[in-house]
Amino acid sequence: MADSDTQPCGQPLIELHGLAKMYEAGGVRIAALRPTDLTVRRGAFLTVMGPSGSGKSTLLNLFGLLIRPTSGIYRLEGRTVSDLNDDATSAVRCGLIGMVFQSFNLLSHLTILENVCVPMQYAGIPHTRMRKRAKALLAQLGLEDRYGSRPTQLSGGQCQRVAIARALANDPSVILADEPTGNLDEKTGQEVLSIFQELHRSGKTIIMVTHNPVYRQYATQAVKIHDGEVTEE
């Protein structure tokens, strides 16, 4: 599929102003992400590419508020979220951000329905409504006959679909995907990617970290990272 399939992008959703992340190792300061200015508009499909260790995951973790920036400002939906306290950060992660991991990160002791419910539990959604929405999401992703299955009973592609359903549970503003096809074969990877495309078409903002340059063609926006330096294509 080409860019022509995508929705036109709207107002800025994410704004980075001089956002940087430094680490100290053995008294030496290492720039995992050099000061970056970047704007991601609502409805965009952004791919982040770069070699291993270039800082892709650092950027994604900053987007996901899993780490705090050393300097700079991160605005999400017009609100500065880079200096929030832990509770407020959790609330933003819960309500505005959906995460999809390379290794799925499903909770193996829960059924897939319960896995999809997890983010909704933290959003305080009532039990019945929560299960109804989880079922709808799983059905939308073709897993309507597997509600009671455990992740260990599913294939990699099915697991990633559950993870996507989980990411969509609280209807977030942005979906962050960290190499979502990295653990899948090519065919399954393509299926998963088509789900992201579908989500994008429906208006979701997606930020995807990937190694695969082929996926660039599906994006409305792309950045490359090299040694922590972000360059927009």
């Binding site: 996901g64 899993l66 959790s90 992660r93 995460m99 997890v118 983010p119 539990q121 933290y122 039990h127």
Partner: protein, 424 residues
């Protein structure tokens, strides 16, 4: 997170490793079981002790004649009569001097065998006064029953009142009121049946339900004022075997008992008496109970400390094993306190389950101990599980869960989300 979701999450986590979860509670189960069982046995023992003490009458002071040891014995070489115990002089002195005494009831053991057919029995015939019924907390059984009256003694009527156990043995299915009892070759007409509702004993000795009472004056007229029994050529003389003193005011009992002991020490040259004060025994039993409670609490504390450390260990191991899960939950929006409460709830649920199972095991253990102790046919132990002990067990379990679960839960909550996510 809503409470219902918290419960479901905790349930799912604990049932993930059911056997491990149950094993983790083992320390708490055994600790609580030991506490509940020992409290039950202790409570049974306490109640039995209280019952026995109260059966003697808390407001009573009981004097008992005791045969002195050989070297102590005062013996008249002329008469070869060994005289000991409570005397008529003692009775008169107490009646005249001790103002706190409301009732004074002398009791003489007739030392006469009671026969059923040709067989002697352990039924005791005692001679006493009409107030005996009141001081021993006995009651009459049949509507036709009456106790001894003053006039019985005045007219030397050979009547008797029979304890229900003695009556069953003596008369079986016959109507006791149409019967007589032969005591020392004299037939006594049965005028009443009595029973001790609490299964009391006469001064802790004879079972009251197995006693026959007859008027003291009648007994004296028949066998003289002196009970004599030949043993190795020596006669024994005892005026009264027991003397029941019922007091007017319970709080004055210790003082009265002290004065009584002082009087007896001065009036008797040998230790041929014993003073039983149920009120003092009651206080002593209560003190013993307090000590028992302290010991129990200490044992419980040690058991629960051990159990609690076990729970903490398991929770720490759980958290290490589930670090990635914590990372995932944090990445999906869990706050630190959601993680804290989740693991704290797991810990509390574990200890509560342990407490519940322990309480059940404790009840069973107490029941088994009671059954085993009664196998020989003796009275044995009595276990009483009080609702309070169960509530205490469960509350202590919850507190243990909170105490020993807080550190692991706090540690889990403090994990950095990203570090936790990357945990292998």
């Amino acid at each position: 997170m809503r409470p219902v979701e918290m419960v479901l999450t905790v349930y799912a986590s604990l049932t993930r490793h059911l056997i491990r979860s149950l094993l983790a509670t083992l320390g708490i189960v055994l600790g609580i079981a030991a506490v509940v069982a020992m409290l039950a046995i202790g409570e049974g023992g306490r109640r039995e002790a209280m019952r026995q003490i109260e059966a003697q009458g808390v407001d009573n002071i009981i004097l008992r004649s005791v045969k002195p040891v050989e070297g102590d014995a005062q013996q008249s070489t002329r008469s070869f009569t060994q005289r000991y115990g409570i005397t008529q002089r003692d009775v008169e002195h107490i009646r005249n001097v001790f103002e706190n005494i409301r009732l004074l009831v002398p009791v003489m053991d007739t030392r006469r065998d009671i026969f059923v057919g040709q067989q002697t029995t352990d039924i005791e015939a005692v001679a006493t006064t009409p107030e005996f019924l009141e001081v021993t907390r006995c009651r009459l059984v049949d509507r036709r029953s009456r106790f001894l009256k003053l006039t019985d003694g005045q007219v030397l009527d050979p009547v008797c009142v029979v304890g229900i156990k003695a009556a069953r043995r003596l008369f079986a299915h016959l109507d006791p009121f149409a019967q007589t009892v032969v005591i020392g070759n004299v037939s006594f007409r049965v005028v009443g049946l009595m029973e001790s509702p609490v299964g009391g004993r006469l001064a802790g000795q004879y079972e009251l339900d197995n006693v026959i009472c007859l008027p003291i004056e009648t007994a004296r007229s028949l066998w003289g004022g002196i009970r004599v029994q030949m043993r190795r050529g020596i006669a024994e003389q005892v005026d009264y075997d027991f003397l029941f003193l019922s007091t007017k005011e319970t709080h004055a009992i210790p003082g009265t008992a002290g004065r009584l002991r002082a009087y007896l020490r001065s009036a008797h040259t040998q230790t041929d008496y014993e003073v039983q004060v149920p009120y003092e025994l009651l206080q002593s039993a209560q003190k013993t109970q307090r000590i028992f409670t302290i010991v129990m609490t200490s044992i419980a504390a040690i058991s629960l400390l051990v159990g609690g450390i076990g729970i903490m260990n398991i929770m720490l191991a759980n958290i290490f094993e589930r670090t990635r899960e914590i990372g995932v939950r944090r990445a999906l929006g869990a706050r630190k306190r959601d993680i804290l409460f989740q693991f704290l709830a797991e810990s509390v649920l574990l200890t509560s389950i342990g407490g519940g199972l322990g309480a059940g095991l404790g009840i069973v253990t107490a029941a088994v101990a009671e059954t085993v102790s009664r196998m020989g046919g003796d009275a044995g132990l009595k276990a009483v599980v009080t609702p309070e002990s169960l509530v205490v067990a469960l509350v202590v379990s919850v507190i243990t869960g909170i105490t020993f679960g807080t550190h692991p839960a706090w540690k889990a909550a403090q994990l950095d989300p990203l570090t936790a996510l990357r945990h292998e």
